[in-house]
């Protein structure tokens, strides 16, 4: 099977579907034309810039270290994106930086330590991107849910503290509920894989000419790593945010002061 090369003409043709979305928005008076146009343009420019940079990073003559520099930059960018999406959460920048760094170190350690993928730029950058990217949205959800759960159940939490429970124990049921809420979408996606959802990586590999069996194996490995990464990042962020909400002497801080 030949590798797929859609070229600039193919890319332009794919914009027909964007035009269709614009038309639907106009006809239905959804008022989303600008949003759709801006999102499409922004994605195009971002990906083209990233693609150009990736050509340099993934070049055979480029040292592997540059790929890791790229990964570090991705972690930083992800943390700032999370902060902007969860700006009411106290200490979210530090917590999300720690979370993204932790899942990258652990996941990449497993991937390259066990030889799942070769330690080459062509594997390092895309795999790190998938793990970090998939963890970001769930991390934002987890951070916001922990703050909301504890804020909504403030009296219950304080009743537990008043019974002499340490902050970690008093907050546990509410943090657990928030983490369940944040993890369920990823678990559902994993369960539906192959039945409802044909994962992007596998589809891309098949389109690029890789044997479907090999594509499935790679996709499965990636999927398990993503599930593990999302679970890890969500847990780290949940526990990190919880820590921000209590003082060292087991008092629940006022959430408006903590932010």
């Amino acid at each position: 099977m030949e590798a797929t090369d859609i070229g600039w003409t193919g890319l332009a043709a794919s914009l027909v579907l964007v035009a269709l979305a614009l038309a639907l928005s106009l006809i239905q008076r959804l008022g989303l034309e600008l949003e759709i146009g801006w999102a499409s343009l922004r994605a195009g420019v971002q990906l083209l810039i990233v693609g150009a940079a990736l050509v340099l990073v993934l070049d055979d003559d480029t040292p592997v270290a540059l790929s890791w520099v790229w990964v570090v930059a991705m972690i930083g960018f992800a943390a700032f994106t999370i902060r902007s999406s969860a700006s009411d959460v106290p200490g979210i920048l530090g917590v999300s930086l720690a979370s993204m760094a932790a899942i990258t170190v652990v996941s990449m350690g497993v991937i390259f330590g066990l030889g799942i993928f070769p330690h080459e730029p062509v594997a390092i950058v895309p795999v790190a991107g998938m793990l970090i990217g998939n963890s970001m949205s769930q991390t934002v959800l987890a951070a916001n849910r922990v703050v909301a759960e504890i804020g909504e159940k403030r009296t219950e939490v304080e009743a537990r503290l008043a019974l002499g429970q340490p902050a970690t124990v008093a907050a546990r049921p509410y943090v657990a509920q928030a983490l369940r809420t944040a993890l369920i979408p990823q678990i559902e996606r994993t369960k539906a894989t192959g039945i409802v959802i044909l994962p992007g990586a596998m589809t891309g590999l098949i389109l690029a000419g890789v044997d479907p069996t090999d594509a499935v194996l790679i996709q499965l490995a990636v999927m398990y790593l993503i599930l593990g990464s999302v679970a890890t990042s969500v847990t780290i962020v949940g526990l990190g945010v919880r820590r921000q909400l209590f003082t060292a002497d087991h008092r629940l801080v006022r959430l408006d002061e903590a932010a």
Binding site: R154, T155, E156, E158, A159, R160, L161, A162, L163, G164, Q165, P166, P173, D249, H250, R251, L252, R254
Partner: protein, 241 residues
Amino acid sequence: MTATAPPLFSFNDVSVSVDGRLALDRVSLQIERTGITAVVGPSGSGKTTLLRLCNRLTVPSSGWVRYRGEPLDQLDPLTLRRAVGMVFQVPTPFPGTVRDNLLVAVADASEVAMVAALEDAGLERSFLSRDAQALSGGEAQRVCLARTLLTEPAVLLLDEPTSALDIDARLAFEGVVRRIADAGTSVVWVTHDLEQAQRVADRSIVLMGGRVASEAEARRFVQRGVAGQPDAQNGGNDGSD
């Protein structure tokens, strides 16, 4: 000659700032060891803040608080909170049965201890298997009281515990607390209901505008019956009152 035992709580020049506003303003007072001490005053007078200082759910912005002569900030907060139990204004039953609720307070509580705590709070053994979040307001508040009593506190802090209850449940709750106080547990009871304070308390402290009221202010407060007015702003435990 025996030395005089220090008071239950001593407040010395205590101020608490909440949202840039002084909830308590240089308050100095003492709470006696025995019986029921009522803390009364109108909305925003600092009653709840005063109560929360007693078990360190709130800490002073300045000044100090002592518990039986010991500086509060030098005591382990978890040990302190088990000795100084608190029941909140709004009943806070946790999900699960009444038994589950009691086990939150003492994870290895025996059946005998749980039943005793329920009976002390005026509830029967049969409540153990009831869904705690399906109880009436009065029953739920008594479960919360039983949950607190299970930790065998030396002091019971009550933050307007009957404000959400009807008159029958309110009187029943007062009777239960009176028995607990007579059995030796010190009680500090915050209420805006002056009649209730007169019914249950052995002594009262009147707060006005974050300060201890002078005798003249307290007298005027009692005469006007301000404390008996419905108090729409007094619905939370955010430490602002």
